[in-house]
Amino acid sequence: MEALKLKDLYDGFRDPKVIKGLSRLIAEEAKKLSKPINIMEVCGGHTHSIMKYGLPQLMPDNINFIHGPGCPVCIMPKERIDHAYILSQQENVILVTLGDMIKVPGSKGSLQDARAKGADVRFVYSPLDTLKIATENPEKKVIFFAIGFETTTPMTAALIDVVRKRKITNILFHINHVTVPEVMVELIDSRDEHVDSYNNRIDAFLGPSHVSVITGSKIYDKFPKAYARPVVVAGFEPVDVMEAVLMVVRQFVEGRCELEIEYKRSVTQEGNLKAQELIEKYFEKADLFKWRGLGNVPESGYKLRTEYAELDAEKIYKEILPTEEIEDHKLCICGDILRGMASPPECTIFGTACKPSSPLGSCMVSSEGSCAAYYKYGNLIS
């Protein structure tokens, strides 16, 4: 048998004929809908695919995407970026984080700015690469600024596991891992300050497949049952997203409200139990985690369990890490946008005070946010 090539993993899922075919099917099914439906893709990876492949242009008028809060970089509040910034400026500290985290500005600047001022900030492709940095710099403290959803959490847990087993003493952790279901509940359930109501226009969710590879699809069980919102767990290729939209539309047409899996290639109901055990071993839920643009969301973030306090940079550097809250910009309406109640151009600071080069709200922070997408592709979005 011929070895599997990388292109085998995506080629069929970008086939123009299949995409066009799905687009026709969605249009046909959508004619049977009694009212328009708004589908939130929770994850920034989905938003990226949707914008990159121009999928809204293939949708009938009565199907809209609402771009969700699922980008770990965008939702990082200024307070926590400031923590990273301050830690990076300590003597004998190397601050390590993942990819594009270093671009996002806090109140003091971004990690990129910190690096330009002489701080030792590095990015790694895998948290385990931190081990090499720590071995090569035994006289320095290496602080891993851990970010990401359920997908990257087990990798941080695996790093902690190695650090403990090998008794490595110069790696510390600043944990900012967040979880998907809790913020979905928040969007449905919380009060929207600007319109002073509990409204939202989210009719259905697309769940990110890679999160469910770890957690299983079970984390979404409650949404069809308790919140009357269908969920389809979908992959990231254009064919995946189109097929998932078709599945959502069919649920509405047929009067069903269920949890379905489009990404059957790797997602099961139970997920990766070993990864879940590892997360459970080292982390526990923090009471609150602040999301840029949304505020404090209960039980939506992880922290290190107290028995691992000696690895916790937040505790070790407590004296120098500020705790006061930094308010989101008063005029920012990210909360409304994320609930589907407003579109980016309705925001008074959109494109003026708030731009991709100087973002104020989470939706403008990276290309995965809806405001950034409107800013860049505005005249291609109807």
Binding site: K5, L6, K7, L9, Y10, P16, I19, K20, S23, C43, G44, G45, H48, M51, K52, Y53, G54, L55, Q57, L58, P72, V73, L98, G99, D100, M101, I102, K103, Q112, D113, R115, A116, K117, F123, V124, Y125, D129, K132, I147, G148, F149, T151, T152, H210, P238, P356, S357, K376, Y377, N379, L380
Partner: protein
């Protein structure tokens, strides 16, 4: 603009252009500089004049090294103005402790590439600085070339032109990324690093009516197309499925979340050629091994002036933007 220079200011994209226009152009402002061509056209349109400084890690990479790069880079800038590279200067800043053997290897490779271009180094300078002041070696080359055909300019592109790329995209950027420490990717991928004058010479000899040429270095083809669309105030429409990208480069892009159109090339150029000469250009380009897969990728329209539009094969379109920020892998 930021108060301090960050790596994003060297990306060949948005921040880079901002730094150049707000700091350097503001101070040096003159008519020749403001044309923003690959090389300045001077001396009554007879000569092309260009400079480039080179720093690359690792110094020796699959398909080339900093020496070859330093000659190709400047000679290609001259060639893109339709000029034959003639005289180069060579300045090096070397870090204390650098190996003489490696230095000789670099210089040999420069010599070889000068021969390809038929150019000579006529002046130079060396500086040695204490350890840590530079990363191993920085090379600057400046070159003068004789213009073979006048009037090639990125400011004159119109709807009579067709857009061609000389080969598959992103090889240099992808090869350098894969060779960097920390990414253990095993690949046969080689940089496209090469001199382009021979192709240019053949195109001119065949009488091809070239409107503009630009080698797609930092910022890749998307930077070239965006700069062109702004300089010539036109819309450039590109068909995504026609953009040639090798399987290896595609694979690296998939893994790291990059787009091949944003990756650097060192021996790949974009051409705007009059429609009636497209056939002739393709025949010429296909006669060279490093442009044997030259492809027509797009056309010039007035749909969205000063924008580059990417059309997908399934009927959607999006703007292809100037790359922004430092090239960083996406998290998820």
């Amino acid at each position: 603009m930021n108060k301090t220079v960050t790596l994003a200011h060297g990306n060949g994209g948005l921040e880079n252009n901002e730094l150049i226009s707000k700091v350097f152009y503001r101070a040096f402002k003159n008519e020749i500089l403001e044309k923003s061509e690959d090389a300045a056209v001077i001396h009554g349109g007879e000569l092309a004049f260009s400079t480039d400084s080179f720093t690359v890690s690792p110094l020796f990479f699959p398909g080339g090294d900093i020496g070859k790069l330093a000659v190709c880079g400047t000679c290609n800038d001259l060639a893109m103005m339709g000029a034959k590279p003639k005289y180069l200067t060579c300045s090096v800043i070397i870090e204390e402790g650098f190996s003489i053997r490696e230095l000789e290897k670099i210089v040999r490779s420069m010599k070889k590439e000068l021969e390809v271009n038929g150019a000579i180094v006529v002046s130079g300078d060396t500086k040695v600085v204490p350890k840590g002041s530079v990363d191993k070696i920085f090379i600057n080359t400046t070159g003068i070339g004789e213009i073979q055909k006048k009037g090639i300019s990125s400011n004159l592109i119109s709807s009579d032109d067709t857009i061609i790329v000389s080969r598959d995209l992103g090889r240099h950027g992808a090869a350098i990324f894969a060779a960097r420490e920390g990414i253990e990717l095993t690949t046969d991928l080689q940089s496209d690093c090469a001199s382009l004058y021979l192709q240019v010479e053949a195109l001119l000899a065949a009488g091809v009516n070239i409107t503009a040429m630009r080698d797609a270095t930092r910022g890749g083809v998307s930077a070239v197309l965006n700069e062109w669309s702004q300089q010539s105030k036109v819309c450039i429409e590109v068909n995504e499925e026609d953009i040639p990208v090798s399987e290896e480069v595609k694979g690296i892009c998939e893994m790291l979340g990059f787009e091949a159109v944003n990756l650097a090339n060192e021996g790949t150029f974009v051409l705007a050629v009059k429609k009636e000469d497209v056939q002739k250009s393709m025949e010429v380009l296909h006669g060279f091994s490093n442009s044997e897969n030259a492809t027509i990728i797009g056309s010039v329209t007035d749909q969205y002036p000063e924008k580059v539009v990417l059309n997908s094969s399934y009927g959607t379109k999006r703007f292809l933007d100037l790359p922004t920020g430092e090239l960083l892998p996406r998290i998820c």
